[in-house]
């Protein structure tokens, strides 16, 4: 840790750390709205498309001047957005095709300008590469000030148009039909995306900038179902990833920062995918397991009940039961007083009887309902009832009983058991 400590004492360290976390958080906020409108790849097109602006800004300023490069990037970003818009309006090409076209053509122009910069003999010409993949550690406080001013402006504009953005993100059609100027809000969002891309060019680099617009929003969506929570979460996660990225950038200066930030975000995506409370795989697995347990034990007690119906006996041998129950099912049944277990012999208790009766009743009621109300053939109703018996609760059972007027037998002429 002693070595890490020396970076903390590096004069630029805290500047860069504070700067990159702030810039990334702002970019991620803008990305949340493009995510919700399913325009995520627009960010990728813009990020590639602004390269001529960055290289041109470098050539005009004759050095790595953050302000000129920022202005170049924003001007060219707006040009990128309008070109995509222009192509999809004037031709029958879809906007995704227009995006691929403009992205590659403009990036090609940018590559031409990059080679001009590299052969120009300008001082610091090799520094231009830091804009491609990001080099957080190479940022000076002056650069950071420039980017931060732009980021603050983005934040203010975002706050000002927040209600409008919310409307078009969630109910675009209604907004449109109420005479809301959707296209103007779209234009503002596009300019915000351009600015959000431009402020990240030196910390993340423009090639991977799209990830900062997309990934935090996607992660935030896994944890939140409200917009405000999503915004806070995506901003926070982007700040965290960017902060970790800048630490790496200081410890390994030869490495570009952007890929690390993207990789950290990817790791967060994988972690959230597993543990997030809303859509996490773990949560879904547990839910599935729980449902499976319920079905298994309900089927077990139903089978005992059927055997009792046939024989009138409440004592069984474990080997007499078709589909031998799992230990887990048996343990649950014993703990809940459904059965008494002694060695391999089972005794069905009063409580277990009631449970078996309930499930059998639900099954037969549903069969009768399908047959009577939906006029399904009697030999087609069983499979559906096998599923529904586990889902029919007290309320639905009451409704079925009322609808069928308290029937006595099911379509197969078996008794529908009532509580004695």
């Amino acid at each position: 840790m002693a070595s890490l400590w020396t970076y903390f004492n590096h004069p630029n360290f805290w500047w860069v750390l504070a700067g990159t976390t702030f810039l990334s958080a702002i970019s991620a906020l803008v990305g949340t709205f493009t995510y919700l409108q399913r325009k995520s790849l627009m960010g990728d097109a813009i990020a590639h498309g602004i390269l001529p602006g960055v290289a041109g800004g470098f050539l005009i300023a004759g050095e790595k001047n953050a302000l000129v490069i920022m202005i170049g990037a924003i001007v060219w970003g707006v040009l990128t957005v309008s070109s995509i818009e222009w192509i999809s309006r004037k031709t029958h090409l879809r906007s995704s095709t227009a995006m691929a076209v403009v992205l590659s053509a403009f990036f090609g122009l940018g590559m031409m300008l990059l080679t001009v910069v590299q052969t120009s003999g300008l001082p610091d010409a090799s520094g231009i590469n830091s804009f491609l993949f990001g080099q957080a550690a190479s940022m000076l406080p002056e650069d950071l000030m420039v980017y931060s001013v732009f980021a603050v402006v983005v934040a203010f504009v975002l706050a000002a148009v927040y209600p409008h953005l919310t409307i078009i993100s969630f109910d675009r059609a209604t907004a449109e039909s109420n005479g809301f100027n959707v296209r103007r809000v779209d234009a503002v969002l596009s300019i915000l995306v351009v600015a959000a891309t431009a402020i990240g060019i030196q910390s993340i680099g423009l090639i991977l900038m799209a990830a900062l617009l997309i990934t935090p929003a996607a992660i935030a969506r896994m944890w939140n179902s409200r917009l405000i929570g999503m915004l806070i979460f995506s901003g926070g996660i982007a700040a965290l990833a960017a902060g970790m990225g800048s630490v790496i950038s200081f410890t390994a200066p030869a490495m570009p920062t952007g890929p690390w930030i993207v990789l950290i975000l990817f790791a967060f995506t994988l972690i959230s995918m597993v543990i997030s409370p809303q859509r996490g795989l773990l949560k879904r697995y547990r839910q599935q397991k729980k449902n499976q347990d319920i079905i298994l034990r309900e089927n077990f007690i139903k089978r005992l009940y059927h055997q009792w119906e046939r024989s009138g006996q409440t004592a069984f041998h474990l080997s007499d039961i078709e589909d031998t129950p799992s230990k887990r099912t048996l343990r649950y049944a014993v703990n809940n007083d459904w059965i008494q277990l002694a060695g391999n012999s089972i005794h069905l208790s009063e409580k277990g009887m009631r449970e078996g009766r309930r499930i059998t009743r639900a099954h037969r009621l549903w069969e009768l309902y399908l047959s009577k109300a939906l006029r399904m053939r009697d030999d087609h109703v069983h499979p559906s009832a096998e599923v529904m018996e586990h889902l029919i609760g007290d309320d639905l059972e009451k409704e079925l009983l009322r609808a069928l007027d308290y029937p006595l037998t099911d379509p197969h002429q078996r008794d529908i058991p009532y509580e004695p």
Binding site: R94, S96, T97, G108, L109, M112, I214, G258, L263, L281
Partner: protein, 287 residues
Amino acid sequence: MNTWVLINAVVIALSCSLAGAFLVLRHRAMLTDAISHAVLPGLVIAFLISGSRNTAAMLIGAFAFGFICIFLVEFFRRYVRITDDASIGITFTSLFAIGIILVSRYTDRIDLDQECVLHGEITYSALKRMALPGTNWHVPQTFVSGMAMLFIVSLLIAIGYRGLKITSFNPDYATSIGVSVTLWHYISGGIASMVTIVSFEAVGAILVIALMVIPAATAWLISKRLPAMLLNTTILSVTGSVFGYWVAIWLNVSIAGSIAFLLGIQLMVVILVKVVARRLPLQRATK
């Protein structure tokens, strides 16, 4: 000597643009963006394992990551319910990031660098030569592999022409007569991925996208029938490559960048001509 660079560029341009035509018709142009970024770690890992620029190893690596890319996109979409475009975006940026980290970490062991990933090495494609079997002719390796790819792509398109055509233009009709749209969806995607991967090394990530998408999109605007569109696609890809090459030599700039940009200029000219033509009184009178 430099003629070979131009010839290589044209050969690669031909196969890319032909394979791209069916992607553009299916509105899947951004797929090339995803694949051309996602295969990078495969190339680097293959390079590290085989210890050389072994074409076979790099192809296997690239294909493996092409599949990982498709799998991850599908996984995020289906099981994590991330929106379509976002799952594409997350996947290819992450894979590309892994590739870039590997490139910069092992930069001393690989003769790939961050820039060459973007620009490709078309300039050096004339240098590595091989003898044509049975003759004394020494031609660049890139030319041989490019011609092989062009042959395979043309053959696949010729064999699958009917299926590709019907599923591109009228998927509903295709389904109704029992042609599997999904199957041809994967075949067209597969051809495009193969071309992307083979061309990536020579022309870099960006020019692959430009070559696959722009000539086909341009040709679509000026052609009424598929054969004409395919012909126009190939012509436009050749003119774009030749002009782009000349401009690059003339201004001494990146060849890959210049070709990509010139392809874009061609498209812009076509759109402008169409827009102006629409406003001419002559056209209005004939309508």
